[in-house]
Symmetry: C2
DNA sequence: CTGAAAGCGCTTACAG
DNA sequence: CTGAAAGCGCTTACAG
């Protein structure tokens, strides 16, 4: 690498001390305007850039934050990341991205790195396997190191950290209530994430909305074959009139199975899914979806983390809930089926 | 932050010098086995971790690479990133993610940071606006700084750097040829990225396959309304029998417009698109797509970058083409329409 | 086998 | 207003 010019070299060229150069570049009032000008001119000429590593070492900061992403192929997380990055860029922070692929072991490896001091703070959405096995030791370890941690999206865990996410329970509670009020009697759920915190919360919202008097229809499996089987049963035997889908796969699978079996959407079955609007509108028919504002979740999570980094004092941990709403498209249209 | 224990503190506790501790931890043959054991024991007890910033300062390395992503919501880039991250993690490198959102100004800002020495190397897919305006000064600047650069995916630029991507021309050339051979006469293209390098290459592949004797049907616009209009004309007036779509939006738009206008896929019109397999298979009908192996592109790009970082010598720049293939699903099925 | 010293590139009290 | 010195936390020739 073409070695960058250093303060020392600049100082030699100017026949002043390193301290003077440093102060001049930082507009110290200790230095005469003339000198400041001379120094800056030469610095600009040589395209001087302070070495961030050296600055970080002095200040005991890394100027970076770490983000653990369970699954970047999920566009939700991709957009969350973009929100985080946007906020970080405004604050002059670098974002180091780590992908756990939903694996505990990978997550542990990542937290190992994190505690080595690469970052000033960490944003985490806990991996699926970690949740399933209930092994949070490595997460607590990071907290014990007094590295500020913010949990985002997957926030249903009892840990002394800030949290930013959505109200998963409320979304499906209200979506179910809404369908019932509109006269839909048999509402079902398709989910491949029932064993995860957010999945459970969504299912519980549905359950609570139905109450004890009603029958629950729940197709749940992380295995696609098994989920297919259960969803088919729900659609064809139970003949549910609407399906709430808790994630991308269950949404698309339900949509596809209806098609394969000649069920018309929304006439025969209505669908509300968890997919992004940019996809939902193109589907045939378009699919109603929960708008989670992932970008906003990312921005907020980063904001909360930055605040925590800057003022270590402020005691109590906060939980921030980002508002969501169901966007109704063709798959929940009623005029077509009012006469059911 | 609970201050981590340092070499100095460890040395004091052990009544040895800092040098000895450092060497012991690094298994130097200079140090006696006994001492090594003592040192490591205490280090483990106190969970000592070397401060990466200090190590980096000594070694004049940052241990990080930067990735500029034009649009993370595009699952292609999300998967490329996952490939890069996987490779980097194996090599013990951190990945700093920067998102340009296809904007020149943001990209310039990012390259500004990059030349400040945050990273040992950079992976870039050049933003749409940058391509449109043809302003590559900031990219060249980064190269001038002797920071290793690898261009990924968007590689049709004349720069002295390594490149990793796919053969955009060939894909559409062969896809078109294939359709012609199967008896499809009117093949059209829908594209919202015709002004970008990869878009142009794909279109040219199509053109070349058709040759001068045939009529070109090209619906091209970055504006969705205008693209809708042009695609509709192509579908309804020109009555093309197949559409090659060069990107996510044109694929989904064509698919949706066929549906809205009662055109059956594949009987009335066939579609080959650029979307990911995880989505394509769920569509109704499923949509044939170009499998770009984004994960592999990411891995390869990172590998090439790492090689370049490690041996600055090796002269000539390389261009790596990742193999692609068209995955045929329902939208190009022929048995249904053989009798056309 | 162990340790003192120099140095990576900066910043910042402190002295002059 | 300028500069010498110490120090951030390491590593590594060099001396002993």
């Amino acid at each position: 690498m073409k070695s960058r010019i250093t303060l020392k070299e600049l100082a030699k060229l100017l026949n002043v001390s390193v301290s003077t150069v440093s102060k001049a570049l930082n507009d110290s009032p200790e230095i005469s305007p003339k000198t400041i000008e001379r120094v800056k001119e030469l610095a600009a000429l040589h395209k001087y850039r302070p070495n961030p590593t050296a600055v970080n070492l002095k200040s005991s900061k890394s100027g970076t934050v770490g983000v653990i992403i369970p699954n970047i192929a999920n566009s939700f997380f991709a957009k969350v990341l973009s929100g985080m990055e946007a906020k970080a860029q405004k604050e002059g922070l670098q974002v180091i991205t780590y992908i756990s692929n939903e694996y505990l072991e990978k997550e542990q490896h990542i937290t190992e790195l994190l505690t080595s001091g690469y970052v000033d703070g960490v944003l985490i959405a806990i991996a699926e396997e970690t949740q399933r096995k209930g092994d949070f030791e490595h997460i607590r370890n990071i907290i014990d190191f007094d590295i500020p941690v913010v949990l985002y999206d997957r926030i249903g865990f009892d840990m002394p950290v800030d949290k930013v996410g959505i109200d998963d329970h409320k979304i499906f509670f209200e979506a179910t209530k809404d369908l019932l009020e509109k006269g839909v009697n048999k509402v079902g759920i398709a989910t491949s994430i029932h064993h995860m915190g957010v999945g459970r919360a969504r299912i519980n919202g549905y359950r609570e909305a139905l109450g004890d008097s009603q029958t629950f229809y729940i197709a749940n499996s992380a295995n696609m074959e098994s989920l297919t089987e259960k969803t088919l049963k729900m659609l064809l035997e139970d003949k549910v009139e609407a399906v709430l889908c808790s994630d991308f796969d269950s949404t698309m699978l339900t949509y596809r199975l209806a098609y394969e079996n000649g069920l018309r959407i929304p006439e025969d079955v209505k669908i509300i899914g968890f997919i992004r609007g940019g996809l939902a509108k193109y589907l045939t028919p378009s699919v109603s979806y929960v708008d989670q504002s992932p970008h906003k979740i990312g921005e907020k999570a980063m904001e909360v983390l930055i605040n925590r980094i800057n003022k270590k004092d402020s005691g109590s941990r906060e939980k921030h809930i980002i508002e969501t709403k169901v966007v109704h498209l063709e798959s929940t249209q009623f005029n077509k089926s009012e006469v059911l």
